[in-house]
Amino acid sequence: MEEHKLVVDLRPQARTIHEHIVEIVSDSGEGAQKAGETFGTICAKMGNGVWTVQIIPAEIQPPARSPAGASGIRIRLASHYVTNMGDEADLVVAFNEQVLYSRIANGAYKQGTVVLLEDKWREDPVPEIREQYAKTVAEYRENGLVVHELSIEKACLAITDNPRQGKNMFVLGMLCHIYSRDLEQAREEIANTFKRKSEKVIALNQTLFDAGQQFAHKHLDFHYQVPPRPEAETKGKRFIVTDGNEALGLGVMAAGIELVAMYPITPATSASHYLAEVFHRVGGFVHQAEDEIAAIGFAIGASYAGKTACTITSGPGLALKTELLGLAVMAEVPLVVAVVQRGGPSTGLPTKVEQGDLLATLFGQPGDSPKVVIAATTIEECLHFVIMARRLAETFRTPVVLLTDTNLATGVQPYLRPEPTADWLAPPIDQSEWDESIPPYDWDPETGLSPRPIPGMPGGQYVLTGLAHTTRSKVAYDSDSNQKGCSMRSRKLAALASTLKPPKVYGDAQGDLLVVGWGSTLGAIEEAVDRARAQGHRVSSLQLRFLSPLEPGLKEIFQGFRKVMTVEINYSDDPSAPLITAETRRYAQLAFLLRAHTRLDVDCWSVVMGHPLQPAMIHNVLLQRLETLQNGGNN
């Protein structure tokens, strides 16, 4: 301890910065993610704005030292609220030089990015590895990366004979030195990270942490201060730190949902992992069904019986659930369906982000299948929108699909702790007598709404059916009954739309360009808009949360701008590609919807590269479109 104090006292003055992006990249299984998560939590606890996101290889055990195997984490920490992963990293810790290739290919680094590189490969017994290492490091330096070769593993070997397992905490120590983190906070957090392990394991990791911190002090000639967010933003407020899937899980509990039926599917499963750990504490149950179809069937059954139920899935699972989702629409069964979107089509990119399921969600069922579709734009909304989804499902007697995506699911952020009340958690179940004169679908002709009998209610006996039916739920093949049923179910969406307010434009209500997004792209789009506005451009943005029904007033808002375009993470044709004309061009999904909805010429820009949109990418697109606009062009 004496030596430790000395180290602190001898520190040179730390340079104050307001934001940095840090990455830890390694082969799979080297604990980079755990180190990064712990670092992010320490930063959040110190009052910084934080966004962390995992770098996930597609395979469980990819070959070591391969670009494809890059596994790790990015942490963006700042003196302000952070809404997205940001652009290029400022500093990266790499456990081998090869894994950085895939990050470079993704544009994760820039000239001047500092690389703290494990150097044990320089003396590897295999000559090819030694050559590869030397060649790659030279190449990185030539391209402007500032590489510090460090004997991290050797230093760890002095403490543990299994450095592969321990060096992540050593690296955490290095980062905590570099960013002047509160060391007591850090040690506490390590104890918390390993709380299920023995005292010995905790002590070993804390020793590694201390050693890493001293190592960085000895070998690096720079370190920083990142002041916390302004007190006004945080004072007297309580924050929680979770990823988007944990937020979904918390939302399930906060909504008073008592059953989650699911089948494992990436990237949705971790929401159920989290629930499986804590759900029983609030009386809930996670049912792992035999397949996706059974999962939604089980949830529908529970909901029919008066219990609040939810199913959580991703695109391919949604496809399998299609028929039963249609039944829930047809028979008006309240249900929350959370879809954590990934890359498609087919098995696609299981671990990567896409917003490709919007149209499948809206139109994926046979016939007309009106349902409520909402999209969370932040991790915090992943929590609150489950609560909203449950309320909407019960009020409008309908399934509600909540769309999130891998970007939200794997991003970690501090946000305000919800303050639930008992009425959030109250069950809908009512076992009092049902007035037999009221049919089970007593549609209000104005709104399509009707009260719902629940098994156990005397006099309410009816047979729910997926066939066309009368108000009495009697099977009906006559034309009038089907027309009426369809219009009543559709009317509910109009009724819901009438309660919504027009969405708020970010920036001025008039201008040259309006960027419209939905879901997780909120932070990156607004940051890009900020940059363009700072350059004097008349750009605003709008983020949609309701996709069915759409929020009101869109046409009027759009008409305040010379050009409207969507920015999305799904496929659309590049207008300059071969054979693509105004006639053949296929638009991004929200653009497709908005063009039909507003009958305005809504343009789009979208990519399916498997990673979240970053502010700089969007900023570039905005500048290009603005330039074309100035030159009188359209695209």
């Binding site: 149950f285 019986a305 729910l464």
Partner: protein, 317 residues
Amino acid sequence: MFGLHADWSLEVFERYFTIGDYAGGEARWCPGCGDHGVLTAVQRLMRDEQMIPESTVAVSGIGCSSRMPHYLGTYGFHGLHGRALPIACGIKSRRPDLDVWVATGDGDCFSIGAAHWIHGIRYNMDMVVMAFDNAIYGLTKAQTSPTSPLGFKTNTHPFGAIISPMNPLTVTLGITNVSFVAQVVDWNPPMLYEALKAAHRHRGTGFVRIIQRCPVYADSVSKALQGDPSRFVLLEHENGIPLDKSVQRAFPNKVNHDPANLVGAFELARDATRLPLGLLYRNPDAPCYEDFSSRGADMTPEQKLARFSAVLDTVTI
């Protein structure tokens, strides 16, 4: 929970249900269809057991037999093809107080819903599963079913079914946690009634395969069986299904079989030349999934709120 029980027992004394209380819409099955007899047996049993109509839920998939909920005076859920079991299990999962009856067919259960059949048996939730097996797709007009005999001509196999039928009994008996398997024919009402009664009184999934006549599309299949009682063997045992004199007279072949004997049940089930009738297997001690899935269902919002706050504490910084 205690309060709820007290209310129910009061009602039982106050209300008496007649067959009419269990009647729904008029049955629209074809004349001579075996389903009529099953419906009658179920309604009689419901009356005799004085089941509370509003606490009883009939769940089905799609097919002729899956129309059954419409003809009952209870709550009903006429679901999707193959999906009766997940829906029934979902109903039971948080409402073990509800009395759940599943009507499913050979196509619904053994083909499109096969995954749910296997896992439904494994969950062993307390319900009756009536598998109406007429060896044909009737509602969609004569396609081959998984139990259609080899060579049987249908619209999808006009030259005869090309693979042997599956054996629903050996499959069901082979599923871990199976707890009740019986086989009956629709044309013997006393045995049908007793089998359904035993399945209902059994705690766990009471699986009853009902060999059922389709006089329109598979008449030859059931006629051959109905006309030749020697094709069957009656299972007798003090722990089996009670068989009255008329049943004993109807089926000359008899064998003593202890329903606790799973291996013996397999032997009987796999013999395609002599179809067993009665109770093949019963294990009253197999765990029921709802004992786990319904935990906490009685927690009050206030209790949940306190617990949820504690969960939030674990992620609060």
